[in-house]
């Protein structure tokens, strides 16, 4: 584990609102949202389509800016940052995982995992070593040279996770990571998230599935852009509820 676990909140949303359009046809995706997510937490965000979960995820992931309100990431007001600083934050502090995997086509798994480090100006030998370790941690050491088109959905998502964690971000954001996967692959992916949380990373994931949400320590339900339910299942410092100390050791995850 690289960083000591601290009680300092990772994410603070203060009156964050997001509206699309204007006048009569204004859509309120998020209404004055207040939310604090602490370091080391494991949060599932649930809600129906249009409840604002993806909008919230995009704001937390620094992909989109809120219309009103403040968003502090590790104490930094993100709205004050320019393009270069935002790129730095997306690169070092946040690991993004998407429902549709979003691997770069016609590019090997290893190269996909190398990509964030290319943008972080990591030297090639170190980059390859770290990328290989990250792939090994998700059980894909032997698929490093395969392109996305040669991998199953579950494998692609595991490559995407390796890519998200390879720069050692403290915060992992996943937008319906199991949405396109079968049951077995979903379980594999969730086990990886569990281990990442045990290794100290803050995890926020969006899901429709109760099964997936059961892995989290805290479940937040959104409706019409506002929080309607916020339940803590497990203490922040405890292990994830479904965590099975299985065949993979913690060191492998930390890579």
């Amino acid at each position: 584990m690289n960083r000591p676990r601290s009680k300092r909140p990772t994410i603070i949303l203060r009156g964050v609102a997001k509206t699309y359009g204007s006048g009569e046809i204004t859509v309120h995706a998020l209404r004055e949202l207040d939310l604090v997510i602490e370091r080391g937490d494991y949060v599932a965000i649930m809600g129906q389509s249009g409840s604002g979960k993806s909008t919230m995820m995009n704001i937390i992931g620094c992909l989109d800016a809120p219309t009103r309100g403040r968003y502090l990431l590790d104490g930094i007001d993100v709205s004050q940052l320019d393009d270069v600083d935002l790129s730095y934050i997306r690169n070092r502090k946040i690991g993004l995982i998407f429902q549709s995997f979003n691997l770069i086509p016609r590019t090997s798994a290893l190269r996909n995992v190398e990509l964030p480090m290319i943008y972080a100006r990591v030297k090639r030998p170190e980059r390859i070593e770290r990328a290989q370790a990250a792939l090994a941690a998700v059980g894909l050491a032997n698929r490093a040279e395969h392109g996305p088109q040669e991998l199953s959905g579950g494998q692609q998502q595991r490559v995407a996770i390796a890519r998200a964690v390879v720069t050692n971000p403290a915060l992992i954001l996943a937008d319906e990571p199991t949405g396109n996967l079968d049951t077995t692959s979903s379980q594999e992916v969730m086990q990886i998230f569990d281990r990442l949380n045990v290794a100290g990373r803050t995890i926020v994931l969006i899901t429709h599935e109760r099964e997936v949400a059961e892995h989290a320590k805290r479940v937040i339900v959104l409706r019409d852009g506002a929080v309607v339910s916020d339940l803590r299942n497990t203490a922040l410092a405890a292990l994830p509820p479904r965590f099975e100390p299985g065949d993979v050791s913690r060191e492998q995850v930390v890579a």
Partner: protein, 410 residues
């Protein structure tokens, strides 16, 4: 992102869609190749024209009767039409041969042109485009060596020998393949002995230089033209190419006192060297014109690169979004797509240089192209710059995409 990584990504992008990349490169290739080939053709024709003019001798001055403005053929004024002052005579020739007054003149060759001359051999009749009566120094001054037999001599001149030297075209028309040497032809009814055949010169672009017959001046005046018509032309050869201008000044100084009418000179001096300069500047303009036309195709090639890069950016919008989401800066994306445009143009340009060099080896509309190093460098340089320039807009468009918009793009 290092240059090395940018190049790797660009190559990957180029190779991902080979057919399209190849077609894009083709635009630049054609542009670069056409600049190289057309400039080579321009230079080739310049070289050809200059060598023809040099055939006439660059050290020579041609003096013909007539005022400054009357730019006509050498034989434009003859017979009794001209006034005495306008005519060139053997006295002028003698005056020019005076070494004390004209130290820079090597030789003076009077030329008389015969009109309506018909040569007959064995029942075949032929009229050469020009019939010339002159002195033996003509061979040297006009660079008219013989291929077979010999030019007539000073002795022939003194004796008024009835000898003639024929050009290739005349020989072909009268004798076919048999040798004309030692044969007797009738020129306007008078018998002449064929002494030699001139080395073929080909066309000078205006007329066939081999369609000619040359006889001694004295003989020509005695039998064909008479002495009253004066001399059509005096060819003056300077001692070296450096003294041509001095020789011209001497010619003017010697002839002006006797050849002035109403304050204006009644003779013209044509300087072969200045003609060469004029032609050189004309062919240069011609070359520039060709290059300009070719440059337009380079521009079109560049627009082709822009077109394809725009398509590529649109197609890969989602990929750009992903790259930004994992930390690519604006500059990284800009660099990636600019490098891709540069890769296309550099390969296209290199291919164009190759095609241009190969294409320049062939004769094009009768001209042997002469490739120019500067044209190759310029075409390649401009070609790649154009490709890069037109890559800026699409690359900038890609780099300016907001990550959220790019990720949502379907």
């Amino acid at each position: 992102m290092s240059i090395r990584e940018a190049v790797r990504m660009a190559l990957q992008g180029v190779l991902a869609n080979r057919t399209r990349s190849l077609l894009t490169m083709l635009g630049i290739t054609i542009g670069v190749a056409s600049v190289i080939i057309l400039v080579a053709v321009g230079h080739g024709s310049a070289v050809a024209v200059q060598s023809r003019i040099e055939n006439l001798g660059t050290n020579t001055l041609t003096i013909s009767p007539g005022g400054i403005g009357a730019f006509g053929g050498g034989g434009a004024q003859r017979g009794g039409q001209s006034s005495a002052a306008a005519q060139l005579t053997m006295k002028d020739v003698q005056a020019l041969q005076d070494q004390s007054a004209a130290p820079d003149i090597a030789s003076v060759t009077p030329v008389v042109q015969g009109q309506s001359i018909s040569i007959t051999y064995n029942g075949t009749s032929y009229s050469p485009a020009s019939f010339i009566g002159t002195t033996p120094s003509y061979e040297q001054a006009r660079k008219a060596p013989t291929e077979a037999g010999s030019f007539f001599t000073q002795q022939d001149e003194t004796d008024r020998s009835r000898v003639v030297v024929l050009g290739e075209t005349v020989v072909l028309n009268l004798f076919g393949t048999t040798s004309p040497l030692g044969q007797t032809v009738k020129i306007n009814g008078t018998s002449f002995l064929v002494d030699g055949v001139l080395t073929a010169k080909g066309s000078n672009g205006f007329q066939d230089q081999d369609d000619i017959a040359i006889a001694p001046l004295t003989t020509t005046q005695a039998t064909l033209t008479g002495v009253s018509g004066g001399i059509s032309q005096i060819v003056v050869e300077a001692k070296s190419s450096k003294t041509v201008d001095a020789a011209q000044a001497e010619v003017t100084a010697i002839l002006t006192p006797t050849h002035t009418s109403g304050g204006a000179a009644t003779f013209r001096v044509l300087n072969q060297a200045s003609l060469l300069q004029t032609t050189a500047s004309t062919t240069h303009t011609f070359t520039v014109l060709l290059a300009a036309v070719a440059a337009i195709s380079l521009l079109v090639g560049g627009i082709g690169v822009m077109n394809i890069m725009l398509v590529t950016v649109t197609e890969r919008t989602r990929e750009i979004g992903v790259r930004k989401a994992i930390g690519a800066r604006k500059g990284d994306i800009l660099g990636q797509f600019l490098t891709e445009a540069a890769t296309l143009s550099i390969f296209g340009g290199a291919l164009g240089v190759l095609v241009g060099l190969v294409g320049s080896r062939f004769k094009i509309v009768g001209v042997q192209p002469v490739t120019q190093a500067y044209a190759i460098a310029l075409a390649f340089g401009v070609g790649t710059t154009v490709g890069l320039f037109f890559g800026i807009y699409p690359a900038n468009r890609a780099a300016s995409l907001r990550p959220i918009d790019a990720l949502r793009y379907e």
